[in-house]
């Protein structure tokens, strides 16, 4: 009986706070009609500002849909005109003159002109942008406005890579007069604006008035974010969403085998799942030990177990969609336990201990346990150490280089050049490789392909890493919804072609 006041008080507090705090919750689960669609995704944007916040989720939602660049990447990975209708390159490959589309406005009505381009490129080079990707703009020397619809970008040296990077987030065109609160407002020239951003739930794109290009078919597209794969699958099965873009539990594909209800798209990505080895210290300084690791692991088996057979063998840091992919590298190190053991004993590292420090991500954990199994079979002692991702992994492995071996998927496009940076966590310092990458960037388009082919082959020969597999991009869509991009080759999930049939 004595406790009665305690009860009353407790209940009173609960009720009062309930009443006081239920002011404004927001959410959305709008049933899709002919002019709206809801797409399920996994990674949620932290905010709307990709100039200062890293991560794939923000450009995935906003690029091409809300923000547009001079050029864009089509779904086959080719550069296409967007805000620039055409461009000319000078004979020394250093000056790019863009002709801009006419009558382009931002969603707030502001005009997009050559001055806007100049401001944006200079802005990327300024302190306003903080993410590391801004360094792709370093090669730009100056920007000259010719007239309202013509602008010339002068590079300090020829760079094939630069125009490609202009299709990514660094090429996005912001309104100079509306760029103070990028984290919460997004003003672009694209066909959609951000109508709602409910953190922990969804992001709603709504068509704007006065879009300069072709109007998309759908009035409203909602991205709904799921951190649990089962929740996402159930949402599609029960019809709360219309598509899953990038299925995370590939073994559950069989849930969607009914072709009258679902279409499965098997698309390509740039996401190489890399078993990295620290080339700069420990036993992996020795190329023979790295080669032994490559021989010791049955990558096809890992693809079967981890990706339900959807992953692809790559053999180097190049996805098959890049022009310099070389299929002969795929079989450079067939699964051969004896060969591995031979190399290990040659190098004199039998029974060595490997510090295998992995991020606490489900897909990595599955691959890592298999790698551990294979490496134990050839006599290594593997200490698996799971680090909290992102903070701890970035700190210890990526920045601190305090590791022997790790796994992460490298999702960035054309990231073979990371091997040319000796301070990168690979610890790979090879002058020949660095010069190949530099020459590829400076040369003609054909030279770029041949030099990068040589570079990829060199990586394979040096067994710098073990490229376990290339992730595929599986989407499940209701059959009547068309236009969902199958591939994830650029940074955006372009929904401007979505339509109900």
């Amino acid at each position: 009986m004595r406790i009665t006041p305690r009860i009353t008080a407790a209940l009173a507090i609960v009720v009062v706070s309930a009443v006081a705090l239920t002011g404004c919750a927001s959410g959305s689960a709008a049933k899709s009609t002919a002019t709206t669609a809801t797409i399920g995704l996994t990674a949620e944007p932290a905010n709307l500002d990709f100039t200062t916040t890293d991560g794939a989720a923000i450009p995935q939602a906003l690029l091409d849909n809300v923000y547009e660049g001079l050029v864009t990447l089509n779904n086959d990975g080719e550069i296409e005109p967007l805000l620039a209708t055409s461009w000319e390159v000078s004979s020394d490959n250093k000056d790019y003159t863009f002709t801009l589309a006419d009558g382009v406005t931002f969603s707030n009505g502001d005009k997009f002109t050559a001055e806007t381009v100049k401001w944006n490129i200079e802005n990327v080079k300024s302190d306003k942008w903080t993410i590391s990707l801004k360094s792709y703009m370093d090669v730009v020397d100056s920007v000259e406005v010719v007239d309202d619809t013509h602008v010339t970008v002068k590079l300090s040296k020829p760079s094939n890579d630069w125009l490609f990077r202009m299709t990514t987030r660094i090429g996005a065109m912001f309104d100079p007069d509306a760029s103070t609160d990028l984290a919460n407002t997004a003003v672009g020239t694209g066909p959609y604006t951000v109508a709602e951003f409910n953190s922990g739930d969804s992001l709603v794109l709504e068509q704007r008035d006065g879009y300069w290009g072709t109007k998309p078919a759908l009035e409203k597209v909602t991205f709904k974010y799921f951190s649990d794969p089962n929740a996402e699958n159930s949402a599609l099965q029960s019809g709360s969403i219309d598509a899953i873009s990038g299925l995370s539990s590939l073994d559950s594909m069989s849930l969607f085998s009914d072709t009258s209800k679902y279409t499965i798209q098997d698309g390509s990505t740039n996401a190489e799942v890399v078993l990295s080895m620290n080339n700069a210290s420990g036993i992996f300084k020795d190329v023979r030990v790295r080669q032994a690791v490559n021989y010791a692991i049955d990558r096809q088996a890992i693809i079967t177990n981890s990706t339900a057979d959807t992953g692809k063998l790559i053999g180097s840091m190049v996805p098959p969609t890049d022009p310099w992919f070389d299929s002969s590298l795929v079989d450079a190190y067939p699964y051969d336990v004896d060969k591995a053991k031979e190399l290990i004993s040659e190098a004199g590292v039998e029974g060595a201990t490997i510090r295998f420090r992995i991020p606490n991500l489900a897909n990595v954990s599955a691959a890592a346990q298999q790698v551990q199994s294979y490496l134990t079979a050839v006599g290594f002692k593997v200490e698996l150490d799971t680090l909290e991702f992102p903070a701890q992994w970035l700190d210890k492995v990526f920045t601190g280089h305090d590791y022997d071996m790790s796994i992460i998927n490298h999702v960035e496009a054309r990231d073979i050049a990371t091997y040319a940076d000796p301070t990168y966590y690979w610890g790979y310092d090879n002058a020949e490789f660095q010069s190949l990458v530099a020459k590829a960037d400076a040369g003609t388009a054909d030279e770029q392909v041949s030099y990068l082919k040589d570079a990829a082959a060199l990586l394979s020969k040096d067994a710098v890493s073990d490229w376990l597999y290339l992730e595929s991009y599986v989407s499940v869509v209701k059959p009547s919804l068309t236009g969902l991009p199958a591939n994830q080759l650029g940074e955006s999930l372009n929904v401007t072609d979505l339509a109900w049939s």
Binding site: P229, N230, N233, S248, S249, D251, S252, S254, L255, D298, A301, T304, N305, S306, N360, L361, A362, S365, A366, A368, Q369, Q370, Q372, S373, T376, A377, L384, D385, T386, L387, E388, A391, Q392
Partner: protein, 284 residues
């Protein structure tokens, strides 16, 4: 919070052995046996991955294989070890921190008692899950760091129990007698209080044990449980969770193990309480 009160199975027949005690002891015994057996024998090495994935149960693989081609039965056997370990660490931490604080707060000077109880209040206000996640981030994700956090978060329950038990014992006649004999308060506490509240503490421990096993599976779901490659029931559940509607049995086996083990510890606790708790009416 499950640990502040102790439900029970039976209140009469205090002298006979309650059925719950027997059932609980049998289940816990099975878990211990499974763990011991796993040290000398498992059908397969539970950490070796193969391409024989998602096999149905057979004479070779009694319960089939998981998505990475590992033998499920072998993993369950070894997982029993982790289950025991998880409980021992978290309950151990809770008891080692909580019991001395509780007794000290009852037997020590008044200001100290007050200070300790305020500290306990504060500790109780920190969410256990948050501690576990922060410890995982700070000391690396490991069973030990997760269970240390769960242990610290359950320590207040032990402290309160020990304090209330100690206060009762300290007001009894034989303690008064000891006081008159000019024994030190601490000496009295250790001599008289601890043996008297031991029964209650054992009950508390068995209940906490179940809570810890469940907490481990919840943390695994969030990626902060026992890291690979050590097989645990919680992580088996988490790994199979993504495919639970295509391969439901992979979820069922570890889930049944967790349910039965937690049930066993709870029953054991209830039974012990019915059997040994001398002051059931008024122990809070």
């Amino acid at each position: 919070m499950t640990v502040l009160m102790k439900p029970r199975m039976s209140t009469r027949h205090r002298r006979s052995i309650p059925a719950s005690l027997i059932a609980g002891a049998v289940i816990v015994g099975l878990v211990i046996i499974a763990a011991l057996v796993s040290f000398i024998w498992t059908p397969f090495d539970p950490t070796i991955t193969t391409t024989d994935r998602l096999l149905s149960p057979s004479g070779e693989h009694f319960l089939g294989t998981d998505a990475l081609g590992r033998d499920v039965f072998s993993q369950l056997l070894v997982g029993a070890r982790t289950t025991l370990y998880v409980g021992i660490i978290s309950v151990g931490f809770a008891a080692i921190i909580g019991v001395p604080l509780g007794i000290l707060s009852a037997a020590g000077p008044r200001w100290l008692g007050e200070l300790i109880m305020r500290f306990i209040d504060l500790l109780l206000a920190f969410p256990a899950l948050l501690l576990a996640i922060i410890f995982g981030a700070a000391f690396g994700t490991s069973t030990f760091s997760a269970m240390m956090a769960i242990g610290i978060a359950t320590a207040p329950a032990f402290a309160r129990l020990a304090r209330s038990g100690a206060l009762q014992v300290l007001s009894t006649e034989y303690v008064l007698a000891a006081r008159i004999a000019r024994r030190g308060e601490l000496d009295i506490a250790v001599r008289h209080v601890l043996p008297n509240i031991l029964g209650m503490l054992i009950v508390q421990a068995s209940v906490c044990y179940g809570v810890a096993v469940l907490a481990e599976s919840g943390l695994s779901f969030l990626g902060f449980g026992t890291p690979p490659p050590t097989p645990t029931w919680g992580r088996m559940l988490q790994e199979a969770q993504a495919i639970m509607f295509t391969n439901p049995m992979l979820v069922v086996w570890p889930a049944v193990c967790i349910v039965v083990a937690v049930l066993g510890f709870n029953l054991l606790g209830d039974g012990l309480r019915d059997r040994f708790d001398p002051k059931m009416e008024d122990n809070r």
